[in-house]
Symmetry: C2
Subunit: 343 residues, 2 copies
């Protein structure tokens, strides 16, 4: 663990001046980012928080404006080999087909039922949306919440054989906490379904459901057989957070440009990162580079994948990031510890 | 001013037990709702907050779940003779027609330009939406914010000759504060445009922009002539908060059923009020009855308006409210003071 006594002391003073809630960790003067190596990325994050919460700084941001946005998959937790929510939906295809046997005769459901890893890996985004809408519709919002909760309690990631909710990155949990300890409100903006992520965001990330902006379906108000009012999930997409949609929908939900944004994907984070960085005053745009094949996965610029590969951080975004001064976070070189369960 | 020493003391204890932030007012033991008469409505609100924040109560609600929803027009501030945001849009029609002269030749813009009060009063909801979309589109989100700010600083309500933002109901401001002092997060769900209400919600109600759920248009990501990324307001409705839409979109944005809801309109609040009241545990649904022709306006059950009149609280909802045990708030009989500027 690396310590920065000077820096932490200044940080603590800034937080007190700003009237922010100061965590026990900050109060003891210890390092707020203990799982980060003493390199440029850590320095840049600490400096940004310090500068924007120090009332004597020209970059001071009033508490009401302190909003930080975080992508989830690949930024806050593992996204390989499949997005967790996609695994949830795939796992629910057999029950769906039992209920509606005609679906089993056609794609993409047939491919899912075949269990072929290769076929599943090659599902298009359109096909994935079809599966998502089919498996996450027709039930009340409470029935869906129960189902997500049950699945999360039992499903395990194939590589680590652990619950998916164990696979949040410890260094990013520290960043979330550090922002909040300095008066920032932290938000998730995800391509995944808001209703899925909201079921664990508070427990895993300390982010309440109302601060999760996701892709989402329509809801329909109606009555059950006992004439009790209910809300039902409908198979109709209202918010699509892919591409520029993530940024557009973030404004739709919250009406603010964040001061800081963390992402990892060329396809779905680049617009948000560019927009945040282009705001007035000091802004932070940061990208997680998956370059750690040993402890996690390696994909992105170093691996020569095309920029259009969903969820990857391609060379073109890397070039923009370098040009605009985004913070590049190397999993391999910046993080001493990956998961909370790591020693 | 009426005081409840016993009740306030119990309330204070409950708040401390719950670990909630306690306002200076609560700490001094004074009445948290000083503009309310000692009648059933006040008692019911105080009892609800006390019961749901007292850890020894079977109706205790954990802090994370404490969400209270408030309609705006007619519930938090004056909605007659026209919704404030509609006045904003009507005031912008001349500039719009100057820019696009062809609009001046056709309805509903022709009616607006005529200045006829009668014609304007008879605009249909579809025509109002057309005017809203036409006047609130094509500019960047920042240009729109500036325009709203400028208008609010100068526009005056015709009856009181005061800024619209002065016309929030003092008793409801006390309710908002009382809920927040007891660990509730307060949200606005409005038929008005989210982007309009967000410009003053924090200043007027203490509600941050991200806790305002409104009707809203689409946003489009793009670049300006200097290749700086921008978000532009588009003339396409994404969220329509009228009718059941208010409840459906509240779930879409926040993924929670509120524990308390305040409204006043048969057309746009009834679904939310029914849904909230039908939740598990103790829930509060409350309606503001506009029965004070002298100090404000009188409309609703006592005035014999049809239930379908937009924005009114009709007889049918009144009957449901009585049957389901909603709290009925009579402006005339429950409120000692109407506006913050009243003596």
């Amino acid at each position: 663990m690396i310590r920065y006594p000077m820096l932490t002391r200044r940080l603590f003073s800034a937080a007190v001046l700003a009237g922010a809630t100061v965590s026990a960790r900050a109060q003891t003067g210890s390092d707020p980012l203990p799982s980060w190596k003493d390199r440029a990325a850590k320095d840049a994050i600490l400096k940004f928080v310090r500068d924007t919460t120090d009332q004597s700084s020209p970059n001071f941001v009033p508490p009401a404006e302190r909003i930080a946005e975080f992508d989830q998959d690949g930024t806050l937790w593992v996204e390989h080999p499949l997005y967790t929510q996609v695994v949830f939906c795939l796992d629910h295809v057999p029950a769906l087909v039992k209920e509606k046997p005609e679906l089993g005769q056609r794609e993409p459901f047939k491919a899912v039922l075949s269990g072929s890893r290769d076929a599943i890996a090659h599902l298009s985004m359109r096909e994935i949306f079809e599966i998502v809408l089919a498996t996450q519709s027709g039930m009340t919002v409470e029935a869906f919440q129960d189902e997500v909760g049950k699945w999360l309690a039992t499903a395990k990631h194939p590589r680590w054989n652990r619950a998916y909710t164990d696979l949040a990155y410890q260094p990013m949990l520290e960043v979330l906490q550090h922002f909040r300890a300095n008066g920032y409100r932290t938000f998730i903006a995800t391509g995944g379904s808001a209703g899925f992520v909201r079921e664990y965001a508070d427990k895993v990330y300390g982010i309440p459901p109302e601060q999760v902006c996701g892709t989402e379906q329509a809801f329909r108000y109606g009555y059950d057989k006992d004439h009790r009012p209910i809300l039902t999930r409908e198979p109709r997409l209202i918010l699509n957070n892919l591409g520029a949609g993530k940024l557009e929908n973030f404004w739709l939900l919250y009406g603010r440009r964040p001061y800081a944004a963390f992402g990892n994907s060329s396809s779905d984070d680049q617009q948000m990162l560019e927009y945040v960085k282009a705001g007035s005053g000091l802004r932070l745009s940061a990208v997680v580079l998956h370059d750690d094949a040993e402890r996690e996965y390696a994909y992105g610029p170093a691996q020569g994948l095309p920029d259009t590969t969903v969820g990857t951080f391609g060379q073109a975004m890397y070039d923009v990031a370098m040009k605009q001064g985004w913070v590049i976070i190397s999993m391999k070189n910046d993080w001493t510890r990956l998961f909370p369960f790591d020693a």
